[in-house]
């Protein structure tokens, strides 16, 4: 134990900052917990996908694999959206309001784009959730991830509005930075799901 703590009866902390970024902030740990939970959900759903596949003679069961185009395009869009997202995060950590506003708006534009494409993805899955177990699990994967896209897009929208209207204080920049981290998660967790939904039926 550091001596300073026992010299006087009291430990003065009044000089400490009132907010901080990364794992110094409580928010980061909250987001981290969410990411563990949702990562586990995705992992288990993928496991269920291959479990069902291992019990089926044919895969995909009497259905064509999903068309590649929209899914691949959306993957590209999602990956691209990481750039403005990254810049927004950096700006937030520099407490640079103007840049934060700019990049948050760009991110929003991206989220509208990939939500639109996601709709088209559903139309090109070539199966229905109630056709057979294959359709069910594919739709489950897509629905789970789409839920994350929607919620993340909505969070970012609310934050963006707040960035324009205020009231602002230091910890709002932390929120922006954590929101950006969550965005990374949503994009990166898509890659394995993309592989499973679009490539697994082909091999």
């Amino acid at each position: 134990m550091k001596p300073s703590m026992h010299e006087s009866g009291a430990l003065d902390v009044s000089a400490l900052p009132t907010f901080g970024f990364g794992h110094r902030s409580l928010m980061w740990w909250g987001t981290f917990g969410l990411m563990i939970i949702e990562g586990t959900v995705f992992a288990i759903t993928v496991a269920a996908y291959f479990y069902l596949r291992s019990h089926s003679a044919t895969w995909p069961m009497n259905a064509a694999p999903p068309d590649m185009f929209w899914g691949t395009l959306n993957t590209a869009v999602l990956l691209a959206s990481m750039l403005p997202n990254h810049l927004a995060k950096q700006a937030a950590e520099k407490l640079d309001l103007k840049k934060v506003r700019l990049w948050m708006v760009v991110c929003l534009a991206f989220s509208l784009l990939f939500l639109a494409i996601r709709v088209l993805e559903f139309t090109s899955l070539n199966t229905r959730w109630d056709s057979q177990a294959y359709g069910s699990v594919v739709w489950m994967l897509m629905a789970l991830h789409t839920t994350h896209l929607v919620t993340d897009a909505y969070d970012s929208a609310v934050l963006t509005v707040l960035m324009y209207t205020g009231p602002l204080e230091g910890k709002r920049y932390v929120d922006v930075s954590e929101n950006a981290m969550y965005w990374y998660f949503v994009v990166l967790s898509w890659l394995p799901i993309y592989a499973v939904v679009y490539w697994a039926p082909r091999y």
Binding site: K2, L11, V13, P17, T18, V41, L52, S56, A133, P167
Partner: protein
């Protein structure tokens, strides 16, 4: 024993008054629904779970009455199936897991020397969600929509073809409610434990109880998603015609069992691990010495957590599991006995070298040794494929699981209530009633459940609403019913004791047991802000340290909800964030979510239109208030 309260200076008294003003919950009915103080919420949480515990107990009594005689027609199969489904569901999802988190959400901040839990609003939201989920299930039960497919809801019996109507849908949605609540609580506890420990409370000075809550919370994060996915797939099978569990369309009934038990077995340890922490707190205090083998205890708990994820298949030996797989799961199922054994031996060593005072909490802790050891040993029997093939799904398993869960969780929990009741209320519980409570419970329990071992071996399966007289199971069932009645009496005594002592118990003072951990270093009940001056932690048992009173922290504003966060490993002071203030929005959001969940039982579109109020509610919950923000900015210190 010295405490902060005995050495208050004048200005500290003013500061204490301001703190109380800052941290207490707002008055009035609206204030009641806006409350977010972790102690207020935790008390409601505990009372609610105890309510469900009693409800589940009543259901059990009706079942015991039905089984007391062969060919009894007190209740019919339809109602009986609802009874045991509701009993299992209540005890597992509405009592055992949440009560541990409820107690944790009260004690953890106090043991850490923190002013609050992290995310107090989310904590309130988690409570409301839990409450609404539980109420939904019981309202359904009273309206004859009680689930009747077992707490494990095996498909296809629980599927769309064989469970018509909405009974099972209500069950599946109850899962969604309670798991959501539990997951949020887990995040809150992890964050609190990692970031809000008193300065100086390095990880290896953390009280063993806090360790158990940390490990449990991590287990929740990995176990519960599995059952949420399973129940979601079940509900979509039932409502929109997906085929996850339909063999004719490529689904598989065993998929359910894998998903369910991948959660279900760790769940047993979610229930069992926090009580290990109760044990360590109680035994240390009442043998007047630190627990022997701190490191071993911590590692044992962590090992248990890991092994717990490697043995779910031992619930499925009777299905066609490949031989090799069975061997693996047998080994891991048996091996999980080792960490528990280590802890038992360390406790015995502690008692061996301690100076014992046999107060009620210690009695319950000692009850654990007898009952849990028996339950653990029958567990070892169940780990063996051969034996399991005979006793699986018989009353032997009923006996085993009650020995483990009641001996391993409920006895320490009762001990914990006797132990911390003075901290909750400022008054001690009656020792005489406590002893009656303990002995009746201990005797009644063994009378009720030991015969079930024999019943199982004599061929009586579980979940039977009656049995032919010719089977000769009548006498042992009657004995079990008598035992159940004795348990009921002892629980009644406990309630009487609690109600009586709340008003007329002997005043406790800050530290009636002369215990060593931080929660005993503040008033009983603690002030709204927990500590007039947050402590600095000098060891594993700070109040037993040579200098008695830990040094305190200064420099935190007392006119706003300022807290101190510390670094992850060695708890160096790091930041001074401000906690959110009370708000009605967690409550309203919880209502919105409830509407969404219940609506989705009747139409999938509820997920769409139900999302709108949820979005509004959560946004207003998050939206900052201009005035307080300006006050914050004025005193902001940038990193």
């Amino acid at each position: 024993m010295n405490t902060t309260t005995t050495r208050l200076t004048a200005d500290m008294q003013q500061s204490a008054a301001r703190l109380e003003q800052t941290w207490r919950d707002p008055p009035g009915i609206l204030g009641w629904f806006s409350a977010i103080n972790h102690k207020t919420i935790a008390v409601r949480f505990m009372l609610t779970t105890m309510g469900f515990f009693l409800a589940g107990g009543v259901l059990a009594l009706i079942m015991r009455l039905q089984l007391a005689r062969p060919e009894n027609h007190l209740v019919g199969p339809d109602f009986y199936n609802q009874l045991f489904t509701m009993h299992g569901t209540t005890m597992m999802f509405l009592f055992a897991v949440p009560v541990m988190q409820a107690v944790g959400s009260y004690l953890v901040p106090l043991m850490l020397g923190a002013r609050s839990l992290a995310f107090p609003r989310m904590n309130a939201f988690a409570y409301w969600i839990f409450l609404f989920g539980g109420l939904m299930l019981y309202v359904g039960f009273l309206l004859d929509i009680g689930p009747d497919a077992g707490w494990f809801a095996y498909v296809p019996l629980a599927g769309p073809d064989y469970s018509p109507g909405k009974r099972v849908d209500f069950w599946a949605q109850m899962i969604t409610f309670t798991e959501l609540s539990a997951l949020l609580e887990a995040i809150i506890l992890i964050t609190t434990i990692f970031k809000m420990r008193a300065p100086g409370m390095t990880l290896n000075r953390m009280p063993l109880y806090v360790w158990t809550m940390l490990v449990t919370s991590f287990m929740v994060l990995f176990a519960m998603p599995s059952v949420m996915l399973a129940s979601t797939a079940l509900i979509t099978d039932r409502l929109v015609g997906t085929h996850f569990y339909n063999p004719a369309e490529g689904g598989d009934a065993l998929l359910w069992q894998h998903l369910f038990w991948f959660f279900g077995h760790p769940e047993v340890y979610l229930i069992f691990i926090p009580p290990l922490g109760f044990m360590s707190s109680i035994i240390a205090t009442f043998s007047r010495r630190p627990i022997y083998g701190y490191a071993a205890m911590v590692l044992a708990v962590i090992a248990t957590a890991f092994l717990a994820f490697g043995l779910w298949v031992h619930h499925m030996y009777a299905t066609n599991v490949p031989e090799l797989g069975k061997s693996f799961f047998t080994a891991s199922s048996a091996m999980i006995a080792i960490p528990t054994a280590i802890q038992i031996f360390c406790w015995i060593a502690t008692l061996w070298t301690g100076k014992l005072s046999f107060r009620t909490p210690l009695l319950f802790a000692l009850g654990f040794f007898f009952i849990l050891t028996l339950g653990g040993l029958t567990g070892v029997m169940l780990a063996s494929v051969g034996l399991d093939l005979q006793v699986h799904d018989t009353f032997f398993v009923v006996a085993h699981l009650h020995y483990v869960l009641i001996g391993g969780a409920v006895f320490p929990l009762f001990g914990a209530f006797y132990y911390w009741f003075p901290k909750f209320t400022g008054r001690l519980m009656s020792e005489t009633l406590g002893r009656w409570n303990f002995w009746l419970f201990f005797i009644g329990f063994n009378v009720a459940f030991f015969p079930m071992h024999l019943l199982g071996l004599a061929g009586m399966p579980r979940r039977v609403w009656t049995y032919p007289a010719s089977m000769g199971w009548g006498d042992m069932n009657l004995t079990a019913t008598v035992g159940a009645a004795i348990i009921a009496v002892s629980v009644l005594l406990f309630i009487i004791n609690a109600l009586k002592s709340r008003r007329h118990g002997a005043p406790a003072g800050p530290n009636p047991w002369g215990a060593g951990t931080l929660e005993w270093g503040t008033d009983s009940p603690p002030p709204a802000g927990n500590f007039v001056a947050p402590p600095v932690c000098g060891g594993r048992y700070p109040l037993w340290e040579p200098d008695g009173v830990p040094a305190r922290v200064t420099g935190l504003d007392d006119d706003r909800r300022a807290i101190l966060t510390t670094t992850l490993m060695d708890a160096r002071p790091d930041l001074r964030p401000t906690m959110p203030s009370p708000s009605i929005w967690p409550f309203l959001s919880a209502i919105a979510v409830t509407v969404l969940f219940i609506g989705s039982i009747f139409t999938p579109w509820a997920v769409v239109w139900g999302a709108v109020p949820v979005a509004i509610g959560t946004t207003l919950w998050f939206w900052p208030n201009r005035k307080s923000t300006e006050r914050q900015v004025a005193r902001e210190v940038r990193p």
